[in-house]
């Protein structure tokens, strides 16, 4: 784990990179990294995020600045800008079921090729996918999802990069922190080793590549 400034962290991300961003409707999203992605005008990003949040919040900021060329998520209903960019073909948005989204990312992080889920069988979600029956029940094969970068927000980070999350700000952060080549973390509180008890660590430090220093 390396401690870096927010400018250094975002400078690592090239235009066109795929980025997983933690958060659910902007809750639990690393806002400082998103502000810096906007400031550094990164373009053509492939965004993997549960939703498009709302304008001016969370990943919504990337749609405000038209920096997303492709998105995989589950819901964009509360961000009119994301909807416009989807309808105008400016952004290619792939909307999938939320449980499938979580499992595909988890599979990517855990070295699984994919999972069999009953969700989506017999619906439009099945198009182009393999259906596999196990013990007389039908499932879709949903394949693993990974990204170049995961942008993660934690409530607590210790000096070794061990992370703990608060309440509903946990959401997709722990699975995404396992599913990217480079993991960049912001935290509300950076604390000494030992403040987070071993049983309360959710993301172990060795998963974290860069911890963004607080001001």
């Amino acid at each position: 784990m390396k401690s870096v400034s927010v400018e250094e962290a975002v400078a690592l991300i090239p235009n066109g990179a795929s980025i997983m961003v933690g958060g659910f409707m902007g809750v639990g999203t690393p806002e400082r990294l998103l502000d810096e992605l906007v400031r550094q005008r990164k373009s053509g990003l492939s965004l993997i995020s549960n939703d498009a949040a709302v304008p001016a919040k969370g990943v919504g900021k990337l749609f405000d600045a038209a920096q997303v060329s492709r998105m995989i998520g589950t819901h964009i209903g509360l961000n009119p800008k994301a909807q416009q960019q989807m309808l105008s073909m400016q952004t290619d948005i792939d909307l999938i079921p939320q449980g499938t989204f979580a499992e595909r990312i988890r599979a990517g992080g855990c070295g699984l090729g994919g999972v069999l889920t009953p969700t989506g069988v017999g619906t439009t979600v099945e198009e182009g996918k393999q259906r596999i029956d196990v013990n007389g029940k039908s499932y879709l094969l949903e394949t693993a999802l990974r990204a170049d970068f995961a942008l993660i927000h934690a409530f607590l980070a210790d000096y070794l990069g061990n992370l703990a999350y608060a309440l509903t700000a946990r959401n997709f952060n722990p699975v995404m922190a396992m599913a990217a080549d480079t993991v960049i973390v912001t935290a509300d509180n950076i604390v000494p080793v030992g403040v987070i008890a071993p049983d309360h660590v959710v993301t172990p430090g060795p998963l974290v590549d860069y911890l963004v220093a607080n001001g």
Binding site: T100, A102, T119, L167, N171
Partner: protein, 216 residues
């Protein structure tokens, strides 16, 4: 009682002690207001919480404690938080006893369409497909008709949410179940006759000998 109150109060009667319940956005959210004190049901918010409670007072809200729509909520004593893989593990794995969702159409066989109107903006299905595929019991809480058109249809022409049929539909006019895979009128709303329900329902409903009124 207005239409939404009839629906929400009637759905609340379906909850049993100890049930783990997931409420969708809209009318389903109102169900929480009508749960009898002491029933000890647990509400799951699919963004990662069991034990969600009412909106806290101004000044007591926390930006990291919200429902699946991003609105501030509270947590009751004994609440538990978890990540999204666990949250949908609970849903898909059948650990959620009841999910209450809104609907666009339900057909004679109990198939639900509730996530997409072709030609209109597609917001995405969020958690709806997992909830309908995985919850032990799926209850649809919706108006019986929209713009004069029955939402209980012969066959859904909107894209399905799941091929798994729902268990119960509660509208402002009726309660409908699907014994043997066939839409069957169970109850009518107070002051509504069986004939009135049939008149505004596109689907053919099986009508038992006795159809009681909802009791509140």
């Amino acid at each position: 009682m207005d239409a939404q109150t009839i629906i929400a109060r009637r759905v609340a009667q379906e909850l049993r002690p100890g049930n783990l319940v997931n409420l969708g956005i809209g009318i389903p959210t109102l169900v929480a207001n009508f749960v009898p004190a002491g029933l000890n049901v647990f509400f799951q918010s699919e963004n990662g919480l069991i034990g969600s409670g009412p909106i806290p007072e101004q000044g007591m809200r926390h930006p990291f404690l919200t429902d699946a729509g991003g609105r501030p909520i509270s947590a009751l004593p004994g609440a538990a938080t978890f990540d999204s893989a666990m949250s949908f593990g609970l849903i898909r794995g059948g650990h959620v006893d009841i999910t209450v969702l809104g609907g666009l159409q339900v057909d004679t066989a109990g198939h639900l369409a509730n996530w997409m109107i072709p030609g209109k903006m597609v917001p995405g299905m969020g958690g709806a497909m997992d909830l309908v595929s995985g919850a032990k019991r799926v209850i649809i809480a919706m108006q019986h008709a929209a713009k004069g058109k029955s939402k209980i249809v012969v066959s859904c022409n909107l894209p399905l949410t799941s091929t798994r049929p729902v268990d119960l539909v509660v509208t402002d006019l009726a309660v409908i179940a699907f014994p043997g895979g066939k839409a069957t009128l169970q109850e009518t709303a107070p002051g509504i006759s069986v004939a009135e329900v049939m008149a505004v329902t596109e689907a053919e409903l099986a009508i038992p000998d006795k159809v009681p009124e909802m009791k509140f």
